[in-house]
Every structure is written in structure tokens, then in C-alpha cells.
Amino acid sequence: MPAFASLSVPSPSTADDHRAARLVIVFFAIAFAAGLSACSSRAVLTTPNGFVSLPEDSLYTPVCYKAVSADDVVLLVRRQRDQAKGNVDFWSEAITRELLERQGYELLASRDVSAGGLSGKLSSFRGAIGNRVFRYELAVFVQDSDVLTVEAGSPEDSYESNAPVIQSAIESLHFE
């Protein structure tokens, strides 16, 4: 019974095909699960007047929310998997050091902040893109196994007028 035998004792090439197929299925399952995890609780802001939020399906992972104004103010929420299980202080310090030591930002202020039922840390930076100077506000939260960052960028020259809107937007973090 060569056919049966061939089934019970598959040739080496057939076994490799099956193993490869299983790996592909496992890969997609993990990717799907990760995608579900990232999007199952979508972190968003209340879009301020004068801003438009971009459609969810137009955003790349890990961006959950993005809104822009006509005068170059950008609001952004990102969710990163936190397999290291760091707390708010760790992630806030890690990002701050990245910005100060590697990207040449200037730290202006830092304070505790609460939003969406989470406690986090809000830091204010000054940085530049080319010759243009910007303010960069960054709030860091930790939720379960994720790091949530709420970012806001504004040109320095219009920051004072936009500051109240940016602060309100950051504190409006909630989950859909």
C-alpha cells in the first residue's frame, strides 16, 4: 500500500512544506492577536476645535490617534507593547534621555498628569526641525502591558496661543 505508506511516512519535502505552513499560520495568528491587542482599546483624544482627526484606518500601528490643525499643531497618541513591564517613571525617563541626549532637545518642565483614569508624567521640551523651533509636549502613561504616549507639537511662535488647547487635549485621553 504505497499510497497509505506514503501518507503515514511522508517524504522529507512534504514534511518541510507542512512545517512551513504551520509556521506561517502561527505567525499570522500572533500578528492578528497583537493587532487585536493594540486596537482592542483604542486610545483617543477629544478632537479640539480647529483640528481634524485622521481616520483610524489611515493610521499605521502603533499610532492610535492623530489630529492636525491648519497652523501646524499635531496631536498624536501611540501605544507600544511593554514586554519589559516598566512603570511610568522608567518610560518617562527613558524617552526624556533619548530626546535630550540623542536628539538634542531642551527639557523645559515636567509634572505629573492624570488622564483617562491613568496617572502619568507630562514633560515639555523645545526642539527644532531644521531651523524651525517647536515645542514638544509628551505625556507618558502605562496601561496593563502597554506604554501610551500622548504627544503634541507646535511651532514655538504660536505655542502660547495653542497651549491651553494642547493641555486640554492631552488631558482628554480616553478609550473607545
Binding site: 499605521y60 499635531v74 527613558a94 533619548e98 536628539q103 538634542g104 532637545y105 527644532a128 504627544e151 507639537g153
Partner: protein
Amino acid sequence: MTRTQLLLFVCSLQLTACGGAMSAMKVSGMAESYREGGYDSDSYLRNESADFQGPLEKKQAAPATLEPIETALAEDGEAQPVADDAKPTTLRRMVIYTAHVTMSVVDLPKAMSQASTAGEALGGWIQASSTDSLVLRVPAERFRDFLASVRELGTVVDEDIVGQDVTEEFLDLEIRLRNALALRDRFEALLVKANSVADTLAIETELARITTQIEQMKGRLRYLQQQIAFSTVHLNFTQPQGSKSTRIRLPFSWLSAMGLHGLYQVEVR
């Protein structure tokens, strides 16, 4: 009066002038003039008449002692000008302060503008400027205040403060100037009494020489006074450069995506 007699008389005048200059009473009188709110060498320079009485003759005071170089370094290690009213019983040191400060700032034009404004608000002025540097002169008594305000503009990369003590040179110049003025007055008196062409020429030659010396000493005194009154601050500005850190990168690649570039360049499908 023969020429020999004239030369002997001139030599005796020189010796008399030099010998009298270093008396303790005169030094103590000069010290007293400093204690009364700083020495005004302009008034000194303005008064050149034969009966001129500068601070040396005007004051009779207890002998002064030169205090140790107090410029010094304050407790926090920063050099600072000596306050006018500090230690009234001792001679005030005369120090020229110069600072070189290199700052790292994100907004370079704004930082330069703020530094200029701060210097001018303290009574200073801009001596020189370029696209990324400034040289400011600020009143010596506000030197420390100005440096403090500059440090708030960004991150101090390098700071170097030098205090050059010119007390000895200043006092020496003043004494030499006083003696030269007195000598010139005596030559002028002699010139009136001269009764021969030869004597007149000899005296006028001496007068020309001493007048040149007087002008040189006056110029140097004015320069020193200006340098003492206004400290010089050289400011160099740089913009922070990323990726120069030798810090070990944390094993979370997404950290490098944080910041304005990530914020403004996150692609949308």
C-alpha cells in the same frame, strides 16, 4: 644760569620727585580715596594746575593694607567683582574681569537676542557680534548677574572666567603721573626764568618729553579704568547635536521614533 647748572637742577628735581612719591602717607591717602566710592581718575586727570592736589594730598588717613586678592572666587567657586562698599578699611582691588562662555541652545537667534537684551538692561552694550557669538561689555558690578541670566538661556558647555588684578599697575601709573605733572609745572616755572636761548631750548626739550609721558600715562589710565568699570563677556552659541551621546542605547527601538520628527513625519496611507 649756565647749562651745567640747569642740568644739575633738573636732576635734583627728578630725584626729589621720585623720592617723595613713595611715602606711606601718600599711599594711605590714595587708599582713602578708593574707600570713598571708587577712585575718579578723570577728576585727577582734569586737574593739572601747579597747585593741583589730588587724592594723595587731600586725605590724611590711617595706613591702609592691601587685602589678599579677593577677587576672587566666591564660595560657590565663581569669580565676582568686589563690591564698592566691601571691607571699607582695606584698599579696593582693581580687577579686570573677562568671561568666555559657550552655550548650547535650541533657538540660537532667540538666545542671542535675549543675551543682548539682558546685557543692555544691566547697563552694558554689544561690542561685537556675529551669527553665533556676541561680545558684551557689562558694568563690573553687574557682571555676576549677567552671567546668571546667560546661564538660563540654555546648557553651559564651557565657562572660563579670568580676573586680572591691575591694582599695582594702576597705583604706579597714578604716582608717576602725579610726579610728572609736578615736574612739568616746575619746568614751566623755570622756563619763565630762563634768560638765554640755550636754557630756553633745553627746558622746552624737557617739557616736550615730559608732556609726551604724561599723555601716555593718561591714556593707559583711561584704558585701565574703562576695562575695570566694564567687564567683557564673550558668548559663543552652539545648537545641540543629536547622536553624539556615548550612552548605551536601550533595547527598545521605538524610543528613537519619539520626538518631533516622528510626530510630524508619521506617514498616513
